[in-house]
Amino acid sequence: MSDAHEPQSTILWVEDNMDEEVLVLRAIRQASLACQVIVAHSVKEALDYLLARNAFHGHYPGIPDVIVTNLRIGAQSGEDLIVEVRSRKELRLIPVVVLTGGASPAKIDELYRRGANSFIEKPTTSAEFSVLVANLARYWTHFNRSVSRPKRTRNFPYAL
Protein backbone atom coordinates (compact mmCIF):
# COMPACT_ATOMS: atom_id res chain seq x y z
CA MET A 1 0.00 0.00 0.00
CA SER A 2 1.37 3.41 -0.79
CA ASP A 3 1.43 6.13 1.80
CA ALA A 4 -0.53 9.20 0.71
CA HIS A 5 2.13 11.45 2.22
CA GLU A 6 4.97 9.78 0.42
CA PRO A 7 5.75 10.24 -3.26
CA GLN A 8 5.65 7.02 -5.22
CA SER A 9 8.98 5.32 -5.81
CA THR A 10 10.34 5.20 -9.33
CA ILE A 11 12.71 2.77 -11.01
CA LEU A 12 14.34 3.54 -14.34
CA TRP A 13 14.84 0.11 -15.94
CA VAL A 14 17.13 0.06 -18.99
CA GLU A 15 16.53 -3.03 -21.09
CA ASP A 16 16.09 -3.54 -24.84
CA ASN A 17 14.80 -7.10 -24.71
CA MET A 18 11.00 -7.06 -24.96
CA ASP A 19 10.55 -10.48 -23.31
CA GLU A 20 12.51 -9.36 -20.27
CA GLU A 21 10.62 -6.08 -20.13
CA VAL A 22 7.38 -8.03 -19.87
CA LEU A 23 8.83 -10.24 -17.13
CA VAL A 24 10.12 -7.24 -15.16
CA LEU A 25 6.83 -5.37 -15.26
CA ARG A 26 4.86 -8.48 -14.34
CA ALA A 27 7.18 -9.41 -11.45
CA ILE A 28 6.93 -5.95 -9.92
CA ARG A 29 3.17 -5.82 -10.36
CA GLN A 30 2.75 -9.25 -8.75
CA ALA A 31 4.95 -8.21 -5.81
CA SER A 32 2.49 -5.38 -5.10
CA LEU A 33 5.29 -2.87 -4.73
CA ALA A 34 4.15 0.74 -4.66
CA CYS A 35 6.55 1.83 -7.35
CA GLN A 36 6.37 2.86 -10.96
CA VAL A 37 8.76 1.42 -13.51
CA ILE A 38 9.92 3.48 -16.46
CA VAL A 39 11.49 1.26 -19.12
CA ALA A 40 14.10 2.82 -21.39
CA HIS A 41 15.12 0.74 -24.41
CA SER A 42 18.47 2.41 -25.07
CA VAL A 43 21.09 4.47 -23.28
CA LYS A 44 19.88 7.49 -25.26
CA GLU A 45 16.29 6.96 -24.12
CA ALA A 46 17.44 6.59 -20.50
CA LEU A 47 19.34 9.89 -20.71
CA ASP A 48 16.39 11.57 -22.46
CA TYR A 49 14.27 10.56 -19.48
CA LEU A 50 16.81 11.60 -16.85
CA LEU A 51 17.50 14.94 -18.52
CA ALA A 52 13.85 15.55 -19.54
CA ARG A 53 14.73 16.10 -23.17
CA ASN A 54 13.38 15.00 -26.58
CA ALA A 55 10.38 12.68 -26.01
CA PHE A 56 10.43 13.52 -22.28
CA HIS A 57 10.69 17.29 -22.71
CA GLY A 58 8.11 18.93 -20.47
CA HIS A 59 7.23 15.61 -18.84
CA TYR A 60 9.80 15.46 -16.12
CA PRO A 61 8.72 12.76 -13.69
CA GLY A 62 11.53 13.31 -11.19
CA ILE A 63 14.82 11.64 -10.37
CA PRO A 64 14.34 7.86 -9.96
CA ASP A 65 15.17 6.05 -6.71
CA VAL A 66 17.40 3.70 -8.66
CA ILE A 67 18.55 2.92 -12.19
CA VAL A 68 18.69 -0.76 -13.12
CA THR A 69 20.56 -1.44 -16.35
CA ASN A 70 21.55 -4.37 -18.49
CA LEU A 71 25.13 -4.32 -19.71
CA ARG A 72 24.39 -4.86 -23.38
CA ILE A 73 21.73 -2.54 -24.73
CA GLY A 74 21.81 -2.53 -28.52
CA ALA A 75 25.04 -0.99 -29.76
CA GLN A 76 25.68 0.70 -26.43
CA SER A 77 26.63 -0.51 -23.02
CA GLY A 78 25.25 0.00 -19.55
CA GLU A 79 28.76 1.09 -18.75
CA ASP A 80 28.31 4.12 -21.03
CA LEU A 81 25.20 5.00 -19.05
CA ILE A 82 27.06 4.78 -15.73
CA VAL A 83 29.77 7.09 -17.07
CA GLU A 84 27.16 9.61 -18.28
CA VAL A 85 25.23 9.51 -15.01
CA ARG A 86 28.31 9.83 -12.81
CA SER A 87 29.66 12.75 -14.85
CA ARG A 88 26.53 14.90 -14.40
CA LYS A 89 26.10 16.86 -11.20
CA GLU A 90 22.31 16.52 -11.15
CA LEU A 91 22.39 12.74 -11.70
CA ARG A 92 25.58 11.50 -10.08
CA LEU A 93 24.09 10.41 -6.75
CA ILE A 94 21.43 8.09 -8.19
CA PRO A 95 22.16 4.46 -7.24
CA VAL A 96 22.91 2.29 -10.30
CA VAL A 97 22.46 -1.48 -10.30
CA VAL A 98 23.84 -3.54 -13.19
CA LEU A 99 21.78 -6.67 -13.89
CA THR A 100 23.35 -8.79 -16.60
CA GLY A 101 24.58 -12.22 -17.58
CA GLY A 102 28.05 -13.47 -18.34
CA ALA A 103 30.19 -10.58 -17.13
CA SER A 104 33.81 -11.44 -16.34
CA PRO A 105 35.27 -10.63 -12.90
CA ALA A 106 37.42 -7.97 -14.59
CA LYS A 107 34.32 -6.38 -16.10
CA ILE A 108 32.51 -6.43 -12.74
CA ASP A 109 35.50 -4.75 -11.15
CA GLU A 110 35.50 -2.11 -13.86
CA LEU A 111 31.76 -1.43 -13.41
CA TYR A 112 32.31 -0.71 -9.72
CA ARG A 113 35.23 1.58 -10.60
CA ARG A 114 32.91 3.48 -12.94
CA GLY A 115 30.51 3.98 -10.06
CA ALA A 116 28.00 1.12 -10.05
CA ASN A 117 26.45 0.61 -6.60
CA SER A 118 25.60 -3.04 -7.12
CA PHE A 119 26.12 -5.84 -9.62
CA ILE A 120 23.75 -8.77 -9.99
CA GLU A 121 24.16 -11.81 -12.19
CA LYS A 122 21.03 -12.50 -14.21
CA PRO A 123 19.58 -15.94 -13.39
CA THR A 124 18.95 -18.39 -16.20
CA THR A 125 15.29 -19.28 -15.62
CA SER A 126 12.40 -16.86 -15.87
CA ALA A 127 11.02 -18.01 -12.50
CA GLU A 128 14.29 -17.15 -10.75
CA PHE A 129 14.48 -13.91 -12.71
CA SER A 130 11.02 -12.84 -11.49
CA VAL A 131 11.88 -13.48 -7.83
CA LEU A 132 15.13 -11.59 -8.25
CA VAL A 133 13.44 -8.60 -9.90
CA ALA A 134 10.93 -8.32 -7.03
CA ASN A 135 13.68 -8.52 -4.39
CA LEU A 136 15.89 -6.05 -6.19
CA ALA A 137 13.03 -3.57 -6.65
CA ARG A 138 11.94 -3.96 -3.01
CA TYR A 139 15.44 -3.30 -1.68
CA TRP A 140 16.09 -0.15 -3.70
CA THR A 141 12.63 1.40 -3.48
CA HIS A 142 11.54 0.41 0.05
CA PHE A 143 14.70 -0.09 2.08
CA ASN A 144 17.49 2.00 0.62
CA ARG A 145 17.40 5.77 1.04
CA SER A 146 18.66 7.74 -1.90
CA VAL A 147 19.12 11.47 -2.16
CA SER A 148 16.21 11.95 -4.52
CA ARG A 149 13.60 11.49 -1.83
CA PRO A 150 13.07 12.31 1.83
CA LYS A 151 13.41 9.80 4.63
CA ARG A 152 11.02 7.01 3.82
CA THR A 153 8.38 5.21 5.75
CA ARG A 154 8.60 1.50 5.22
CA ASN A 155 6.03 -1.21 5.29
CA PHE A 156 6.87 -3.56 8.10
CA PRO A 157 7.45 -6.55 8.31
CA TYR A 158 10.16 -6.85 5.74
CA ALA A 159 10.95 -9.83 3.60
CA LEU A 160 13.69 -10.35 1.09
Binding site: L93, P105, D109, Y112, L136, R145, R154, F156, Y158
Partner: protein, 143 residues
Protein backbone atom coordinates in the same frame (compact mmCIF):
# COMPACT_ATOMS: atom_id res chain seq x y z
CA UNK B 1 28.33 -21.18 -0.33
CA UNK B 2 31.61 -19.69 0.72
CA UNK B 3 31.99 -18.39 4.25
CA UNK B 4 30.64 -14.87 4.36
CA UNK B 5 32.12 -12.49 6.87
CA UNK B 6 30.45 -9.25 7.88
CA UNK B 7 32.24 -6.51 9.79
CA UNK B 8 29.88 -4.37 11.87
CA UNK B 9 31.29 -0.99 12.92
CA UNK B 10 28.87 0.38 15.51
CA UNK B 11 29.53 2.00 18.90
CA UNK B 12 26.11 1.44 20.44
CA UNK B 13 26.01 -1.94 22.20
CA UNK B 14 22.25 -2.22 21.80
CA UNK B 15 22.35 -1.52 18.07
CA UNK B 16 25.38 -3.71 17.57
CA UNK B 17 23.47 -6.62 19.13
CA UNK B 18 20.46 -5.96 16.89
CA UNK B 19 22.71 -5.81 13.83
CA UNK B 20 24.32 -9.12 14.77
CA UNK B 21 20.94 -10.72 15.36
CA UNK B 22 19.59 -9.45 12.03
CA UNK B 23 22.68 -10.61 10.14
CA UNK B 24 22.66 -14.05 11.74
CA UNK B 25 18.97 -14.64 11.12
CA UNK B 26 19.47 -13.98 7.41
CA UNK B 27 21.45 -17.23 7.18
CA UNK B 28 23.76 -15.61 4.63
CA UNK B 29 26.34 -14.31 7.10
CA UNK B 30 28.56 -17.09 8.45
CA UNK B 31 30.76 -14.88 10.59
CA UNK B 32 29.79 -11.58 12.17
CA UNK B 33 32.55 -9.47 13.70
CA UNK B 34 31.45 -6.43 15.73
CA UNK B 35 33.79 -3.58 16.60
CA UNK B 36 32.89 -0.30 18.32
CA UNK B 37 35.32 2.15 16.74
CA UNK B 38 36.93 2.98 13.41
CA UNK B 39 40.29 2.31 15.04
CA UNK B 40 39.31 -1.26 15.86
CA UNK B 41 37.82 -1.71 12.38
CA UNK B 42 41.06 -0.51 10.81
CA UNK B 43 42.97 -2.91 13.03
CA UNK B 44 40.76 -5.83 11.99
CA UNK B 45 41.04 -5.16 8.26
CA UNK B 46 44.58 -3.93 7.87
CA UNK B 47 46.69 -5.11 10.78
CA UNK B 48 44.98 -8.20 12.06
CA UNK B 49 44.90 -9.10 15.74
CA UNK B 50 47.68 -11.61 15.13
CA UNK B 51 49.90 -8.93 13.63
CA UNK B 52 49.40 -10.41 10.18
CA UNK B 53 47.87 -9.04 7.03
CA UNK B 54 44.41 -8.53 8.46
CA UNK B 55 41.21 -9.69 6.86
CA UNK B 56 38.94 -8.12 4.25
CA UNK B 57 35.26 -8.84 5.03
CA UNK B 58 32.56 -9.59 2.41
CA UNK B 59 30.39 -6.74 3.69
CA UNK B 60 30.93 -3.76 5.98
CA UNK B 61 27.94 -2.40 7.91
CA UNK B 62 29.05 1.05 9.01
CA UNK B 63 27.41 3.46 11.43
CA UNK B 64 27.74 7.06 10.21
CA UNK B 65 28.56 8.44 13.66
CA UNK B 66 30.96 5.80 14.93
CA UNK B 67 33.99 7.27 16.82
CA UNK B 68 36.66 8.40 16.61
CA UNK B 69 36.97 9.08 12.85
CA UNK B 70 33.28 8.80 11.87
CA UNK B 71 31.76 6.57 9.20
CA UNK B 72 32.38 8.94 6.29
CA UNK B 73 36.12 9.19 6.95
CA UNK B 74 36.36 5.43 7.38
CA UNK B 75 34.45 4.89 4.13
CA UNK B 76 36.89 7.18 2.30
CA UNK B 77 39.79 5.22 3.74
CA UNK B 78 38.30 1.91 2.53
CA UNK B 79 37.76 3.35 -0.96
CA UNK B 80 41.31 4.71 -1.20
CA UNK B 81 42.92 1.36 -0.44
CA UNK B 82 43.30 -1.17 -3.24
CA UNK B 83 42.48 -4.13 -0.98
CA UNK B 84 39.19 -2.70 0.28
CA UNK B 85 38.11 -0.57 -2.67
CA UNK B 86 35.59 -3.17 -3.83
CA UNK B 87 34.06 -4.20 -0.50
CA UNK B 88 30.34 -3.39 -0.33
CA UNK B 89 29.72 -0.77 2.35
CA UNK B 90 26.23 -0.45 3.78
CA UNK B 91 25.86 2.70 5.87
CA UNK B 92 23.27 3.29 8.57
CA UNK B 93 22.17 6.16 10.76
CA UNK B 94 19.12 7.23 12.72
CA UNK B 95 19.15 10.86 11.71
CA UNK B 96 20.55 12.02 8.41
CA UNK B 97 19.93 15.11 6.34
CA UNK B 98 19.60 14.64 2.59
CA UNK B 99 22.85 16.47 1.86
CA UNK B 100 24.72 14.22 4.29
CA UNK B 101 23.30 11.13 2.56
CA UNK B 102 24.62 12.67 -0.67
CA UNK B 103 28.12 12.87 0.81
CA UNK B 104 28.01 9.14 1.56
CA UNK B 105 27.12 8.20 -2.02
CA UNK B 106 29.66 10.68 -3.40
CA UNK B 107 32.35 8.99 -1.30
CA UNK B 108 31.49 5.50 -2.52
CA UNK B 109 28.84 4.08 -0.17
CA UNK B 110 26.89 1.31 -1.91
CA UNK B 111 23.71 1.89 0.07
CA UNK B 112 22.26 3.86 2.97
CA UNK B 113 19.56 2.72 5.40
CA UNK B 114 17.76 4.80 8.02
CA UNK B 115 17.84 2.94 11.35
CA UNK B 116 14.28 2.14 12.43
CA UNK B 117 13.39 3.14 15.99
CA UNK B 118 11.58 -0.12 16.67
CA UNK B 119 13.89 -3.02 17.57
CA UNK B 120 12.06 -5.77 15.65
CA UNK B 121 11.83 -3.54 12.63
CA UNK B 122 15.57 -2.79 12.89
CA UNK B 123 16.46 -6.50 12.99
CA UNK B 124 14.11 -7.34 10.12
CA UNK B 125 15.57 -4.59 7.94
CA UNK B 126 19.13 -5.80 8.57
CA UNK B 127 18.11 -9.36 7.66
CA UNK B 128 16.66 -8.17 4.35
CA UNK B 129 19.75 -6.05 3.64
CA UNK B 130 22.09 -8.98 4.42
CA UNK B 131 20.17 -11.17 1.98
CA UNK B 132 20.55 -8.54 -0.73
CA UNK B 133 24.25 -7.81 -0.23
CA UNK B 134 25.45 -11.34 0.57
CA UNK B 135 23.34 -13.49 -1.75
CA UNK B 136 22.18 -11.33 -4.67
CA UNK B 137 25.01 -8.86 -5.08
CA UNK B 138 28.36 -9.80 -6.59
CA UNK B 139 31.15 -7.54 -5.42
CA UNK B 140 34.42 -6.65 -7.12
CA UNK B 141 37.02 -9.36 -6.78
CA UNK B 142 34.38 -11.99 -6.02
CA UNK B 143 34.18 -14.79 -8.55
Amino acid sequence: MAARTVLVVEDSDVESQMLEKGLRSSGSARTVVCVNSTTAAEGYIFAGSDGGQGSVPDLVVLDVKVPPAGGLAFLKMLRSNERTRGVPVLMMSSEMRDQDVGDLYRSGANSFLDKPVDGQEFISLVTAAANYWLTLNLSAGQS
